[in-house]
């Protein structure tokens, strides 16, 4: 397997809401990824992206976001749960790309003010992930009752999330390496 390039696993902060607690979760995940050798990451905050709403799909593709997705090996998508689903603007921006995602790994981090840690948002998200060509792992990280998991400054209050994130990232890195090998070396029979 070619290991000359570090794995690239950006973290997408999938909400634009003011005061979003998901930002703490996203920054925590960036920190956990940064601890790993051979993996690079960055935070992609969708509130900072140009996001026209007078068109959709390829018509709103942002070259910089497209390039980040093209060069990613896996995505960590941090999604709050709004009214039992994921944010519409998160889907709006993800829908702007397609080829960039195909045969790449994805893992979803759910965030909620209530106890369920975004599980309903994640369940809604899975068919979208599949149609985008991403391969979702079977680990999630669920930040339920998020106001008790982080303080206002973003400091982690519950250390159990370190080992939960570690398990999630172990699986995501394995899937990212495997899919990179496949993308680079295994041709589609046609």
């Amino acid at each position: 397997m070619m290991e000359h390039r570090p794995l690239n696993i950006p973290v997408i902060l999938g909400t634009t809401r003011k005061g979003r607690m998901s930002e703490h979760a996203a920054r925590f995940m960036v920190g956990q990824i940064e601890k790993r050798d051979g993996v690079k990451t960055e935070l992609i905050d969708i509130s900072k992206l140009p996001m026209p709403v007078d068109d959709a799909g390829d018509g709103i593709k942002d070259p910089a976001f497209s390039e980040k997705m093209a060069m990613a090996d896996a995505l960590v998508i941090v999604s709050p749960e709004y009214n039992h689903s994921f944010p519409g603007l998160l889907k709006h921006i993800l829908d702007s790309c397609l080829k960039e995602y195909i045969h790449k790994a994805a893992g979803i981090v759910g965030v909620s003010a209530g106890p369920f840690g975004g599980v309903r948002a994640i369940q809604d998200f899975l068919p979208v992930i599949r149609e985008l060509g991403l391969v979702n792992i079977f680990w999630d990280v669920n930040f339920g009752n998020v106001s008790k998991v982080f303080d206002e400054s973003g400091k982690l209050l519950d250390e159990a999330f370190v080992s939960r994130a570690d398990k999630f990232l172990n699986e995501l890195v394995w899937m990212a390496k495997t899919l990179r090998y496949g993308r680079d070396n295994i041709a589609l029979d046609s």
Partner: protein, 63 residues
Amino acid sequence: MATQKKKVICPKCGDEMNHHADKLVHPVTAEDASRDANATLGGLIEETHSCPGCGAVESRRAE
């Protein structure tokens, strides 16, 4: 039956890219629908190619 297609060359580093996926996409415009749609599959086939050298991604419409 396998057919030999012209390889895609990476526009970033010049390496030969690997064709690893065919994605069925549905035509958005009437022009696309009339020109390229595969009636059997119900849409258009977009080939996805990856560069082993630098990781770049390219796609092209299947012929």
